[in-house]
């Protein structure tokens, strides 16, 4: 088992719109509380790809339009290919909100051209038009994949205009109990590919869903001792 873990946080200054930091904090603390040294490696525009390639876990979050454009250009050209290589090799990763859309094939806004994605996940996102309602609110869902977590109830908050459709290579993360999920139609929320998870649960997904945090960490460092999660589970329960 590894005694230290490096967490890559992609574009902390550009793609950190609403509490995204929570995911990184939770990964780091849950390692440290088990006696495993954990460091956060901020990966942004100026960061060399080598820094990223040396990391054990990847996180990328949500963004405002202007910042997403800046990050997007860099991601497609530099960091994206590296992340793809890492995900293919089984490095655990979490992509939330804008990042979830961005690792797919493309995003089609209601006006203008398709915006290409990094093609790490086999999925695409389309905006149904400016008259369509944004999908906003608390979400409750039951995990389908990864298998180790099947049956776990996860909770979060969604706030997205785009609707995401999964391709054949993807497995859905969870079945919606309350809320909209990927597209408000097929009843799925999120996606899983290798050890990488994508989700519309924006911002802090991991604090109320510690099982997902531990799964990501275990994929990076091996089996972990349990922690007292009574507060986390109380917060999870309160949303159901």
């Amino acid at each position: 088992m590894k005694q230290s873990v490096k967490i890559a946080w992609l574009y902390p200054d550009l793609m950190s719109t609403y509490g995204d930091r929570g995911n990184v904090v939770v990964l780091q603390k849950r390692a440290v509380w088990r006696g495993i040294a954990a460091s956060v490696v901020p990966v942004t525009l100026e960061t060399n790809v080598k820094m990223l390639l040396g990391c054990d876990v990847i996180f990328m979050g949500g963004a405002q339009d202007r910042q997403q454009k800046l990050a997007g250009e860099d991601f497609l050209k530099h960091k994206g290919p590296a992340v793809k290589k890492m995900v293919e090799a089984g490095v655990p990763a979490l992509f939330v909100c804008a990042a979830y859309q961005f690792v797919g094939h493309y995003y089609k806004p209601y006006q203008g051209e398709k915006i290409p994605g990094a093609g790490i996940f086999d999925l695409y996102t389309e905006h149904p038009g400016d008259q369509a309602k944004r999908l906003i609110g608390n979400v409750v869902a039951r995990v389908q994949h990864p298998e180790e977590l099947a049956g776990t109830t996860i909770v979060g908050f969604e706030n997205h205009g785009g609707q995401t459709h999964l391709g054949a290579k993807m497995k859905p993360l969870a079945k919606i109990i309350k809320g909209n999920g990927n597209n408000g139609v097929d009843g799925w929320e999120g996606a899983v590919y290798n050890n990488a998870i994508g989700s519309y649960f924006h911002g802090p997904l991991l604090p109320k869903n510690p099982a997902i945090a531990d799964w990501l960490l275990e994929k990076a460092i091996g089996h972990l001792a349990p922690l007292d999660d009574s507060l986390e589970l109380a917060a999870n329960n309160a949303v159901r």
Binding site: P204, A235, N237
Partner: protein, 431 residues
């Protein structure tokens, strides 16, 4: 058709009075709603009757305090002011406050209007009211589910300001890059207020920063120093865009906290622009009493409660910093997720709770108490179940029952939580 406007006002006023008399509640917004449903442009008629014009104040944080300071100054020099005191800051709230300030002939009985305006409502309010002054304080991320992104608001404001006539003077915070960038859209005079005090620069940047990219060219902004969040002395190293030099940089400091220094500067800038002498401004703000729930001191037996409305990351960081400077040793955090608070509580992860020194006792309550409890836990602070209070009554009683370690119990609460605390401690939510 001024007679019809007046009639509308009299009608709305009558209904409001009858309903208040019958104990159906006065309503801070619905007399205006009634008037607006009859005359959608009634605000134009009403504001046109003010001999000294209207001042509109908007921004994510500080608009209630700034408008109250401004009102205090103008009342001090003898103006009669119509003001939306209870934070009813949409168009219907503004029209409601006018209706309360009319006589039975439908005539406005004030000389001047001073209104705080909701961020999203500013464009629509500007459609009907042409103010003498518009004051824009700051933009922080706040209730993303309701307001949308900061950049989107900047765009909306830019377009609304560009339609104002030359006679409207716009007063802007030079230290907020998004706000300062609005100056280019203004036809009339622009005045900037800001701080010139490098001794107040933060040593380490806060996490909750929004606009660190140039609004002109998109390049990353450089800061000579940051006062808080993204407020500071900024410049773009690529296109040369930089913080405009503020002309209003000093004034009285009636309230604690750097953010209140900005609020006071904004009020002073307004007063200056309308030729109120320095010593009168000073006199007016001496003994200034804060708005309800904003650094409000409440006596409970022999103990003191200090209540701080804290509703978004920038505001929460500012409150935390201020209460720690004031010597807080017992802090109670109240997190609700009702409509006025925003349904999404993700933002608490952008607040730097890590700044709380470990000896300080932290308790949590509110609708989303467990979300707050885990936030504190992951800041590596002690969060025993005995200080996780499912009911607010218990939270307050239990926190005040044990001897306080410091000079007061400091309660930091979101909007509806703040009202609930007041209800418990003062028997009423507002005034």
């Amino acid at each position: 058709m001024a007679w019809f406007d007046r009639l509308t006002v009299i009608f709305a006023k009558s209904i409001s009075v009858v309903s208040t008399t019958l104990g159906l509640g006065a309503g801070e917004t619905w007399p205006g709603e009634i008037a607006l449903s009859i005359r959608p442009d009634i605000a134009r008629f009403l504001s046109g009757k003010l001999s000294d014009g209207t001042i509109l104040i908007a921004g994510t944080n500080g608009k209630t305090t700034t408008s109250l300071m401004t009102k205090t100054i103008f009342e001090h020099i003898g103006d009669t002011v119509v003001h939306n005191a209870t934070g009813a800051n949409l168009l219907n709230g503004i029209v409601s406050s006018f209706i309360r300030n009319t006589d039975w002939l439908g005539r406005v009985t004030a000389d001047m209007g001073i209104f705080e305006v909701d961020e999203n409502s500013l464009p629509v309010v500007l459609k009907y009211i042409t103010p003498k002054r518009v004051v824009l304080l700051n933009l922080f991320r706040d209730q993303l589910d309701r307001y949308g992104e900061v950049d989107v608001i900047v765009e909306k404001w830019l377009s609304a300001l560009s339609k104002l006539p030359k006679t409207t003077e716009v007063i802007l915070n030079s230290d907020d890059p998004g706000i300062a960038s609005l100056g280019r859209a203004v036809k009339g005079k622009v005045t900037y207020f800001g701080l010139n005090d490098p001794s107040k620069y933060l040593r380490v940047g806060e996490h909750a920063t929004d606009s660190i990219f140039c609004y002109r060219c998109g390049h990353r902004l450089a800061y000579d120093g940051i006062y808080y969040s993204h407020i500071g002395s900024w410049r773009c190293t690529k296109c040369g865009n930089k913080r405009p030099l503020p002309t209003v940089t000093r004034g009285p400091r009636p309230l604690q906290g750097l953010y209140n220094q900005y609020n006071a500067l904004a009020a002073v800038a307004i007063a200056h622009s309308l030729d109120i002498p320095e010593n009168e401004i000073k006199k007016a703000l001496r003994g200034f009493a804060p708005a309800f729930g904003r650094q409000e001191e409440i006596q409970v037996g022999k103990k003191t409660v200090q209540l701080f409305l804290s509703k978004n990351p920038a505001g929460f960081n500012a409150s935390l910093k201020t209460v720690l400077e004031m010597g807080a040793k017992d802090i109670l955090l109240v997190l609700n997720d009702r409509i006025p608070d925003g349904r999404d509580v993700s933002w608490i992860w952008d607040v730097d709770f890590e700044m709380i020194p470990p000896p300080v006792r932290v308790g949590v309550s509110g609708d989303r108490l467990y979300d707050m409890a885990i936030r504190i836990k992951y800041a590596d602070r002690d969060m025993p179940l005995s200080r996780v209070y499912p009911t607010l009554e218990d939270a307050i009683t239990m926190s005040l029952k044990k001897p306080l370690k410091g000079n007061a119990l400091y309660i930091l609460a979101t909007y509806s939580g703040m009202l609930d605390v007041r209800k418990i401690l003062k028997g009423r939510k507002i005034l």
